[in-house]
Amino acid sequence: MASEHAITSTGAPHKVARVRVPGAGVRSDLRAIRVVWHREIIRFSRDRARMITALVQPILFLFVLGTGLSRLASSGTHGVNLRTFVYPGVLALAVLFTAMFSAASIVWDREFGFLREMLVAPVSRGAIVIGKCLGGATVAGFQGVIMIAIAGLVSVPYSPVMILEVLILQLLLAFALTAFGVMMAASMSQMQSFMALMQMVIMPLFFISGALFPVAGLPTWLAVLNRVDPITYAVDPIRRAVFAHLDISQVARETLAPGVTWWGWHLPGIFEAALVAMMGFGLLSIAIVRFSRTE
């Protein structure tokens, strides 16, 4: 029945270049990671408003917050300018906003249909999620570079070791935060609800993390919350890396960048960084599983 109506191919498809799509495998997944990542970069580089925000916002936070608060707190900072003190916190905040925005793009993609183009391609969902997270981390990394560039404005010296440490730490933070956002975005179809959720989760995490205050000598309830908050373990090593290169008194360093303790044990910076990395990979795995389940 069917063959009766079949079009007998005359065999000459007018020199049309025919493509043979290659099989699945690690190479096709790596390629997929690269294209998804590349698209994020193209889109960011074309978005003037986002670029300007990336530049202006941290400067605004740094100077308004730092200068405003310093009028209250000059006695407790042992001569350290409060702008310098909040610098690591503002850096974390800038990375956080950028990472949130990158994760949100997956919800946009769903709303505008582009996610379907990716989900129906013959590549693993994991590759798409990893590409998205790396794209988000790269854009947030760019934000971090801007932050490092303005370090001099708040009397933070441009020490190569510090720059390297801060760069790695903020990339880790950006990656973990994007993975968190993408994981949340897996089941969200509306931008409003995603943004509301992020505000509800991310802002408290930021304020509790000690980005804006030293983490020693806190009341117990806040200390507990602070130690549970994952962002704490990204902000603390960044602050310690910065403070190690400041020309300040030992007392000021111990008061302002005391480091996170677990029952009296001082966590080494590398341990904190590893915690953030592990969290990032854990969140990424959950994100991949959740995306693989969606139809």
Binding site: M1, A2, S3, H5, A6, I7, T8, S9, P13, H14, V16, A17, R18, V19, R20, V21, P22, G23, A24, R27, S28, R31, A32, R34, V35, R39, I42, R43, R46, D47, F112, G113, F114, R116, E117, M118, L119, V120, A121, P122, V123, E295
Partner: protein, 332 residues
């Protein structure tokens, strides 16, 4: 491509079904599409067309039955199916912030089309849909028709063996609709490709080699448009007369035909319209001022198989349920 793969049906299903919770969206359908065919799924919104396409494209898991596309099982060989199909969705799936070329390049990279070949292929498909000159424009500056054409070009970029088009012309103006169809037919002439599409426009179904009428999650009938129209078997005859009431009475008495008034004319349906007209003039006894005979349209076909017109079938859910009850008692 192997010989056997070419001879296999492009699409094949047995008892394909999909339930969403309580709702049976697709209720076990069987059909085959031969390679090179333009095959159309015709039916009102909510008939299960999009769900069927989603299952064939591996975007939704069937809850019953099986399906093979391009020779591959949609459940067991998902990636193989994906590599061999092109998709144009009902809703846009382009990145509006990228240029047309960047959208295509993204697609080519995602499907692993080698760079050199991708460039050649990109030019072919963009020229085919008349967008080669506009390839560097950001997609957000495109009109609705241009975007749909770009989606079709993208769907063809990796030389799929089956191209799925879900309502390819929905929401477009008549002129753009006809240009989209011109591309589809040109495509059929130029590439070795099977085209599977859904539509709820009757006039578009005419372009298909075969159509399946889908209603309430089932295939009601499947054949060529010509055979379907022939199966209705009755032509529509409309006459203008001096005295319509007398004409209707005369038709009842002398021909045993129940005529009705439609569009201001006496309207009747007879098996062979053209042969009937001379008899009508000779025996009616009421002066006839004008006459028209029309062959059955796909609208008539749809009506005769589903008991409703496609427009009426597209009511609310309540209407659909009512229609379902009404059809319980319909005869085939």
């Amino acid at each position: 491509m192997s010989q056997t793969a070419e001879r296999e049906p492009a699409v094949w299903t047995r008892g394909l079904a999909k339930n969403y919770d309580e709702v049976e969206a697709v209720r076990g359908i069987d059909f085959e599409v031969a390679p090179g065919e333009i095959f159309g799924f015709l039916g009102p919104n909510g008939a299960g067309k999009t769900t069927t396409i989603a299952m064939l494209c591996t975007l939704a898991r069937p809850t019953g039955g099986e399906a093979r596309v391009a020779g591959f099982d949609v459940m067991l060989e998902r990636d193989e199916v994906r590599r061999n199909i092109g998709l144009v969705f009902q809703d846009p799936t382009l990145d509006g912030y990228l240029t047309a070329e960047e959208n295509l390049r993204f697609h080519a990279d995602l499907y692993g089309v080698p760079r050199g070949l991708a460039r050649e292929r990109m030019q072919i498909v963009l020229e085919m849909v008349g967008l080669w000159e506009r390839r560097d424009s950001i997609v957000n500056t495109y009109s609705g028709g241009m975007r749909r054409r770009l989606e079709i070009a993208r769907g063809l970029l990796h030389s799929p063996r089956v191209l799925f088009l879900d309502e390819p012309t929905i929401g477009l103006d008549p002129q753009t609709r006809s240009s989209i169809w011109a591309y589809i037919r040109e495509l059929k002439a130029r590439e070795e490709i099977t085209i599977f599409l859904t539509t709820h426009y009757m006039d578009e179904a005419e372009y298909c080699d075969r159509i399946a009428i889908m209603d309430q999650g089932q295939i009601v009938v499947l054949d060529t448009p010509e055979s379907l129209k022939a199966s209705v078997g009755r032509d529509r005859v409309q006459i203008k007369t001096d005295d319509d009431d007398a004409a209707i009475a005369a038709l009842r008495e002398r021909f045993d035909i129940e005529a009705v008034m439609a569009e201001g004319q006496v309207t009747l349906s007879v098996p062979e319209g053209e042969q009937f007209v001379p008899r009508l003039f000779a025996e009616l006894g009421v002066p006839i001022l004008g006459v028209s005979v029309s062959r059955p349209s796909l609208d008539d076909v749809f009506m005769s198989y589903t008991g409703t017109t496609i427009r009426d079938a597209e009511g609310s859910v309540v209407d659909q349920q009512r229609a379902m009850h009404a059809m319980m008692g319909r005869r085939h």
